[in-house]
Amino acid sequence: MSGSREAHARHPFHPRGMAPHVIECKEAFMSSTTSAAVDPNRTRNRIFVGLGAAVIVATYLYLILAQPTELAEGGLGTSALIALAGYLIGAALIAVGAIHRLPTATLSLIPIAIVINIAVGQLAATLGLPVYLDSIGTVLVGVLAGPAAGAVTGALTNVIWGLTIGPIALPFAVTAVVIGVLAGYAARLGMFRRFYLAPVAGFVTGIVAALVSAPIAAFIFGGATSGGTGALVAAFQAFGNSLLASTTLQGLLSDPLDKTITFTVVVLILFALPGRLRSRFPFVRQYNVFGKVTPVAPAEPAAPKA
């Protein structure tokens, strides 16, 4: 077969069908199967994501900077409204902007990841574990398919929680988005190349998650997100901390631990998988998520029998 045409096969994530290591596309995880190059909504989607991120950051900063004076006046002011609306709008903008960029191959990963979040989260609660373990699927998708996919998984997990178990989790959708995004960027930065680096990324993600969710816990739930966490908030308040400071401290006690465990579980399971399965994901190959792999050329087939 001297005249046979040899080419690296196209992949759904790579619209122009180039080999992932030669493709020069910074956002392989967000390209679309059929028409990424001519997607008329590309700019709109970028604006959505950028705007969403800006709204979330602005919401957090406003609540941190404006809150102390308002609390001193003895009321909540507009903090609760801003926390709820700002975070929900921000999370929705990011999720909508991000999902449009995801190819079908990535999309079909997300429902399973959401179900893992919920099944394991419920099981952890049933077993009475002191951690939530409700973001394993989100972290998995972030690591395997990138920050945009992680964000969508996080946001929609909370929608599903709302429809199936109860709407209490919905205000925390923004935290789930942040976790998915950070897991994706951690993977891009190489934090999953060594099994001992992933817990560090988890710890940092947990700190950010705690900071972001503290205003929700404070201004929407008054610190009462559950019995155990409520007791901690009460204790911090009793020692003279403000409400926001108390929910922040409470978050810092539980979230980094939870995310450290989650990231550790994810890295251990992914390391136990055959490399062939992990490297199916173009995001994994593009950013060398699990470290350099020397490409193996497949053995030539035996000469065909006459």
């Binding site: 009321g75 893992i116 099981l123 077993l127 709302g162 199936t164 109860g166 008054g222 559950s226 403000s242």
Partner: protein, 260 residues
């Protein structure tokens, strides 16, 4: 329909409404409730709008049960924390050690509590009376991405299968003598053999699942047609705008200080 979601299949006027109308009503209520700084407004809305809606939708009993399971514990915790340990309380009614029952704390707790009640009960009435299938169709009709509808619909439908799988793996482990009691670490160990197969399945199935979606031309056209059309009468569309604009008006009035 599967029993995964909280939705209750009933025949009622509330069930017949276009889901988008109910969603806009819910969001308008939440917006107003969180804008107005008076605790009796949310409770008034619960009494005058949300509870009657639940009765109208014939889901009152379930709403009460969910209130007792989901919300009441939170409210108790809320009043314990903020009633007794409110950081800025000055009018002390009763004192015991570090705990101080203050007027400000109680007021704060009732403000948060009444809003939370309106938020949770309102959302519950929406979820209890809205068929998720109809919700997804209606939202897609008003412009939501079919991709979002796909992820939500697929997740809701796979949950029962996965719960069954999780349950059987757990039972098998118990049969093999693996402890699911004891220290947290021991109990956590029961999770790992469960997670491995779930995640392996997720990764090995993804090619076939995406191939199946592509074979069905998912995303092939930006304007897919729809087999099921959810009725959307003009009256409901007008009502949606009115509710939304009223809620915005309330927010504006609060921000400029007319309502204080």
């Amino acid at each position: 329909m599967t029993t995964t979601t909280l939705y209750l299949e009933r025949t009622s006027a509330l069930h017949r409404l276009n889901p988008v109308t109910k969603l806009v009503a819910l969001l308008s209520i939440i917006l107003a409730v969180f804008a107005v700084p008076h605790w009796w407004i949310p409770l008034g809305i619960v009494a005058v709008v949300i509870v009657p809606a639940a009765v109208l939708g014939r889901v009152g009993g379930r709403l009460l049960r969910l209130f007792l399971i989901l919300l009441l514990p939170l409210l108790v915790v809320l009043f314990l924390i903020q009633g007794l340990f409110y950081p800025d309380g000055s009018t002390v009614l009763w004192e015991w050690g570090l705990a101080q029952l203050t007027t400000e704390g109680l007021l704060f707790a009732i403000t948060i509590g009444s809003r939370l009640t309106a938020l949770v009960l309102g959302s519950l009435v929406f979820v209890l009376t809205t068929d998720p299938a109809r919700l997804m169709s209606a939202l897609t009709q008003v412009g939501m991405s079919p991709k979002i509808a796909y992820v939500i619909s697929a997740s809701l439908q796979i949950i029962p299968a996965f719960q069954a799988r999780a349950q059987s793996i757990l039972l098998a482990q118990q049969a093999r003598g693996l402890a699911i009691v004891g220290s947290p670490l021991k109990r956590a160990r029961a999770l790992l053999p469960l997670l491995g197969p779930l995640i392996l399945g997720m990764i090995t199935d993804v090619d076939e699942r995406s191939t199946a979606m592509e074979a069905r031309a998912f995303g092939a056209t930006p304007k897919p047609t729809s087999l099921i059309i959810v009725p959307d009468p003009v009256g409901e569309r007008v009502a949606r705008w009115l509710m939304f604009l009223s809620a915005i008006a309330v927010v504006v009035l609060v921000v400029v200080g007319v309502i204080a």
